[in-house]
């Protein structure tokens, strides 16, 4: 079985051989993997190099003290040719990260935004938090109006990138 992995800013192609060895790129690794805390913490020793890996979020992993993004796709997806995370960039969905009050909407459909531009102001935890654009693009949807109380996860803004 082959997998495409994106760990931090590294893209890796990993094949698990029938013998249960790992082929990373063209290097065959004799990796000793041990599940320390079921489903949560792993110890990985590769040729004496000891690493500790903890799964801290759906797409985030803690390794040796650092937190990095992690995405794995198996060969069916790989075959389909979609690379990890790319598609997410084309269409940005800004969702409420927590319940709160939508204080202000700073953009409208059609507004061109650059990376870092403020899109909406959400009041939560007694603070006003500005949600910003992660990539440049054009606002294609404003799903909620000012003054609305929103739940965590509510879609607020959609942006399309060129």
């Amino acid at each position: 079985m082959r997998y495409a992995a994106r760990a931090g800013d590294r893209d890796l192609l990993v094949e698990v051989t029938p013998e249960g060895r790992f082929l990373v790129g063209d290097r065959l690794l004799a990796a000793d993997l041990a599940e320390v805390v079921p489903g949560r913490v792993w110890s990985v020793v590769v040729d004496g190099q000891a690493h500790e890996v903890a799964f801290v979020g759906a797409d985030r992993v803690w390794v040796d003290g650092d937190e990095i993004g992690l995405a794995i796709e198996d060969e069916r997806v790989v075959a389909a040719g979609r690379a990890g995370g790319r598609s997410a960039d084309a269409r940005q969905e800004i969702r409420a990260p927590m319940p709160g009050l939508l204080k202000r909407v700073h953009v409208a459909v059609g507004t061109a935004v650059s990376e870092g531009d403020a899109l909406v102001t959400l009041e939560a935890m007694k603070m006003e938090n500005e949600l910003r654009a992660a990539h440049p693009g054009t606002v294609t949807q404003v799903a909620v109006g000012e003054g609305t109380k929103v739940e965590g996860g509510t879609l607020l803004i959609v942006i399309r990138s060129p």
Binding site: R10, G20, V46, H51, D66, I72, P97, N129, E130
Partner: protein
């Protein structure tokens, strides 16, 4: 105990050590929170919303009476700087662990505190000595003292509702936002204006006073590493503070405290300009989040002192009795995403590993499992490191921060790991602009290829291996999981 989270636990730990029984209040959403289990008695006081529970004066006092309490410790935040609460506690015949209502009133309203400090001969930033009447008044004042200016709620501190205004055009929006947040946070819309002093360091002085007029200062803390005017990292001694400046700041803090007839623990906040000149900002009339760094270098237990003073005892030492040894740094580990503008995040913590070992103290409200509500402050835990010198304290803090694992929601840990290895911070060259100048476009950490490969392999192993208990001294992956793959 009229609070929750790490500070409730920290205060009750000292109570336990002193043989004092504890009773705490808790909101509906906090039934499973650690402070409920740590207390001898626990009473529900209402819904999650602070107004319904931790800010509800009547209910808190009713519980204290029912439980037969002798004193109430407010912690920080919530009712800790509410003069009416302090008065109500006293009226109920209970001891309030903090300064009396009159003192809180004279220092809690920021323009009154500015007037008091100025009268005591302590410099304050140019600005209004009375609350602003309206937006027009604000504009006029801003033009008089010159942009950039700082809009601040007059009703309370902690950085909430503060706005920097660089030009007249920004004033309307800033006025709206600050007024709104001031109302939310302090129940009063009143604002004041000060000239913005930048670059500057936020340096505060811990003081403690008894009811017999003795005031002692316990050293300073540099709290310049902030986001949204709220602190993320604090340390003592301040790397930019020499003995002369330390003595001046200490004397100024004592002047303000004496002028206010201050009793119990408090903190005088100052802004220090690069040339060493400083202005008084405000007095925090409560225990500070960052009090442990002062405890680590002085060897004192500030909560124990608070309780003794609230019981009417005298300060057991004078200014000469205060010794400071080494250096300490505190990391505020918050439920915020440092890669998304420190956006607070509620959620469920389902795994935690906290560090320990030489020089490390954890004051933590974390546990697993734990639901972190969005109704309260996002502070989860404080990692405090002591060392004989600043370099050792920082090395220990970094070692410990990198040992810590929190699964389930993003935390400020990646920010802390970055700062503790960042040359400007390590060499002590930083000011209140640090986060803006060093973390405006946060970058994920660079990990070695070995680490990246390890993470990928573990993730693949996890996908392939069905969860199973660990066999004694063997690896389910190397055993069973390998068998899986042979199929």
């Amino acid at each position: 105990m009229a609070n929750r989270g790490e500070i409730a636990l920290r205060v009750m730990r000292t109570c336990r050590e002193l043989g004092i029984a504890t009773a705490t209040v808790y909101s509906e959403i906090d039934r499973l929170s650690p402070h409920v289990r740590a207390a001898d008695e626990a009473y529900p006081i209402g819904a999650a919303s602070p107004r319904e529970s931790y800010l509800n004066i009547e209910r808190v006092i009713a519980v204290a009476k029912r439980a037969g309490c002798d004193a109430i410790h407010p912690g920080y935040g919530f009712l800790s700087e509410n003069a009416d609460f302090a008065d109500a506690v006293a009226a109920a015949g209970l001891a309030f662990v903090g300064p009396p209502g009159a003192v809180q009133r004279s220092l809690g309203e920021k323009t009154s505190a500015r007037r008091l400090a100025a009268k005591a001969g302590v410099p304050v930033a140019e600005g209004t000595m009375e609350p602003l009447r309206d937006e027009a008044d604000a504009l006029a004042t801003a033009k008089r003292i010159g942009f950039p200016v700082l809009l601040k709620p007059a009703g309370g501190g902690g950085g909430k509702g503060m706005r920097v205004v660089h030009a007249a055009a920004e004033l309307p929006a800033a006025w709206r936002a600050s007024t709104g947040e001031a109302t939310t946070a302090f129940g009063a819309p009143a604002l004041l204006m000060e000239r913005l002093i930048q670059p500057a360091r936020h340096i505060e002085v811990q003081i403690i006073a008894d009811a017999f007029g003795h005031v002692v200062w316990l050293g300073e803390r540099d709290c310049s590493i902030q986001r949204r005017h709220q602190k993320l990292i604090e340390e003592t001694p301040g790397p930019s503070v020499d003995e002369a400046l330390r003595a001046k700041l200490g004397a100024a803090a004592v002047k303000v405290a004496s002028a206010a007839k201050y009793v119990n623990a408090g903190t005088a906040e100052f802004l220090v300009a690069p040339d060493g000149t400083f202005v008084f900002l405000e007095m925090n009339t409560r225990l500070q989040v960052e009090h442990p760094v002062t405890e680590l270098v002085t060897g004192l237990d500030l909560v124990a002192l608070q309780l003794r003073i609230a019981a009417g005892e005298r300060l057991p030492f004078g200014q000469d009795g205060v010794q400071r040894t080494g250096a300490a740094v505190e990391l505020r580990i918050t439920a915020e995403d440092p890669f998304a503008g420190f956006l607070p995040q509620g959620g469920r913590v389902d795994f935690v590993r906290e560090p320990s070992g030489p020089g490390i103290r954890m004051d933590s409200g974390l546990a697993a499992p734990l639901t972190v509500p969005t109704d309260y402050d996002p502070l989860l835990a404080k990692l405090i490191a002591w060392g004989p010198d600043r370099a050792t304290a920082i090395a220990r803090a970094r070692r410990a921060a990198r040992e810590m694992i929190v699964a389930g929601l993003p935390t400020s840990l990646p920010f802390h790991s970055f700062v503790l290895a960042e040359p400007d911070f390590v060499s002590g060259r930083y000011d209140t602009d640090y986060v803006a100048t060093h973390w405006s476009r946060p970058r994920a950490p660079e990990v070695s290829e070995g680490a990246a490969v390890a993470a990928a392999l573990a993730a693949i192993a996890r996908i392939r291996a069905r969860p199973r208990p660990i066999a004694v001294g063997s690896s389910p992956w190397s055993r069973s999981a390998r068998e899986d793959m042979l199929r």
